[in-house]
């Protein structure tokens, strides 16, 4: 991606995400992830309808008119976004959709956290940790994170989710929110996911392409896996082949869902052929009402 396109892409995502977050997502995000308690916020003049129990008598007598204390939820939560930038997510221009969906989800979630005064950190991983940004507050920080994520040029090809989970777990001392955005075309991460699920609020967001469900009925073509560089011969015209592919994908999806559910980890599948923001907001609304 050249610089001009990159910048415009960052700007667009930031703008769209900011509007969406302020109008729709921030409240839901706040409701889904609650802080541990409430804390004193300020004292203001009593208006009719306020709870009489909250009147601050000391201030009232000093000011000679009734004043009431207000409280707010004790927040200061930490959100860490673990983002898969392996070759299977980032590959090739025709599949730009996956990359954009990942960037958009990242922007929406981090902005929602920023608006709610949470600290946001990010881990980008492939078969190594591509970048690690410690959680910090502030919208400026978040906007920089988004720009970095959109512009990332990963050095590795594979996707070692276990490593990313372990790294995050070691860095995150207090209870926080961990959101994994990945296509979950990786294995061996379950032990680390279990540990993560015990200590933190974890949501797994799985990016799904139409090609991740069905193999198209095409002619013969040789396929190369972008991560392992392994090649197979794909006779797309053969129904047996397409069925085997569909069954494999379905099995992968089912076992992923079951694995997460067993560990009390929220699961969300985001399809690249639909608006990711809508899917995210629907998910948060559903979760809030639970």
């Amino acid at each position: 991606m050249d610089r001009a396109r990159l910048l415009s892409s960052v700007k667009r995502i930031q703008l769209v995400a900011t509007r969406l977050v302020e109008n729709l997502l921030a409240g839901d995000y706040r409701s889904v992830f609650r802080g541990p308690g409430i804390e004193f916020d300020e004292v203001r003049e009593y208006v009719e309808g306020d709870d009489a129990r909250q009147i601050d008598w000391n201030v009232s007598s000093r000011m000679d008119s009734p004043y009431t204390k207000t409280f707010r939820e004790e927040r200061e939560l930490t959100l860490v976004l673990i983002v898969d930038v392996s070759a299977s997510v980032m590959y090739g221009p025709p599949q730009r959709a996956r990359r954009e969906v990942v960037a958009e989800l990242f922007a929406l979630l981090s902005l929602a956290a920023a608006v709610n005064n949470d600290r946001v950190g990010a881990v980008l991983f492939s078969d190594r940790i591509e970048s690690w940004v410690a959680p910090k507050k502030g919208k400026r920080h978040v906007l920089r994170l988004i720009a970095d994520t959109v512009a990332v040029e990963p050095k590795g090809r594979g996707s070692d989710l276990a490593l990313a989970l372990r790294t995050t777990g070691e860095a995150l001392k207090r209870r926080g929110i961990v959101i994994v955005i990945s296509d979950f075309k990786t294995e061996g991460y379950l032990p680390d996911l279990t540990l993560m699920g015990r200590r933190h609020d974890v949501i797994a967001i799985r990016i799904v392409d139409p090609l991740d469900r069905e193999y198209p009925s095409t002619g013969l073509v040789r396929l190369e896996d972008p991560e392992s560089r392994r090649t197979i011969l794909a006779p797309g015209a053969v129904a047996g082949f397409r069925n085997a592919y569909r069954d494999y994908r379905e099995e992968q999806r089912r076992s992923w869902e079951a694995d997460c559910r067993r560990r009390h980890i929220g699961t969300l599948e985001v399809h690249t052929d639909a608006d990711p923001a809508a899917q995210l907001i629907r998910y948060f609304e559903k979760r809030k009402s639970r």
Binding site: S86, A87, S88, Y91, G92, D127, G158, S159, D160, D183, K185, T186, E187, G188, L211, T218, G219, L220, V221, R222, L223, E224, D225, P226, E227, S228, R229, R230, T231, I232, L233, A234, P235, A237, V238, G240, F241, A244, Y245, Y248, R249, Q252
Partner: protein, 333 residues
Amino acid sequence: MWVLDRPAMLLLLFLLPPAVYVRHFWKGRGGKLVFPFGSWGGDGFRPPPTIVTLLVGLGAVAFWVGVSFLIVALAGPQRVTREQVYITRGMDIVIALDQSPTMAARDFQPANRFEAAKEVISDFVVSRENDPIGLVGFGKEASLRVPPTLDYPHLLNVLDSMRILELGDGTAIGMGLAVAALHLSQSTAPRRVIILITDGVNNAGEILPETAAQAAGSMGIQVYVIGIGSGAPVEIEVTDPDTGQTLRGTVEDGFDEELLRGVAAAGDGAYFYAGTNGALGAVFEAIDTVERVEQRSLLRVQQLPRFQLFLLIGLCCILLDFVIRRILAQEVL
């Protein structure tokens, strides 16, 4: 014999393994679609074996076999045939064989004089190379069985089919000689030879042996005369080819050696006496050794290109691969 016109082209075969590697195994080869079917750290999707993938594999094998055939075709396979061609004419030989009943005398192995003579003649014919040989048979009459020819197999066939008594009861030596000489008279061969084999006296025919021999001699034809038979009384057994009757008897009268010597002398040749099988063989060997003309021959080497076959097989193999991939499997890239 098969040879290659340009054997250096076979070195191209050494390029095949790298080519196979580049086409089928090299990581950077083209014709692939990036498609994430794998799973990092795991197996990923393993496609089930299908008939189509099997056929495509076979097609790939056929393709490389085809390429190999094309390389061989490029090397120019040829069939080389060598043939000896005589550019000089050989000598003409006519063998005149006695078919009178006395030839059935059983003093020669395996059966009788006649059979022994036939055997020796066959050996003689086989040992010659470029000399047209003819065959004359005589009994009471004489006839030309085979004019001088290089078609030895035919000659041997006819020789084999000759029977005693075919030409009547009698020995017309003069007629036999005359017929042989007649058929050599028009010959342009550098040397002309008659070999006369007989065991009796001239007792039939209108031409005297000496006259015929003189006529032959005047035409420059050499006459070798071979008298066979032991001279002692021998029993004979002969079947008449016309009636099927078997005649038995004993012969006592030998041959007219004086006459034969005279014939040989008149024909500028030599007279031999062969009393046994071995002697008869030796006589023919002697004639064989003496009667040689210098011959010049060429070795004609013919090269027949045979690359078409290899080209055809090679192209068919490559076409097969193409048909499998493009039409059967509908290859896209």
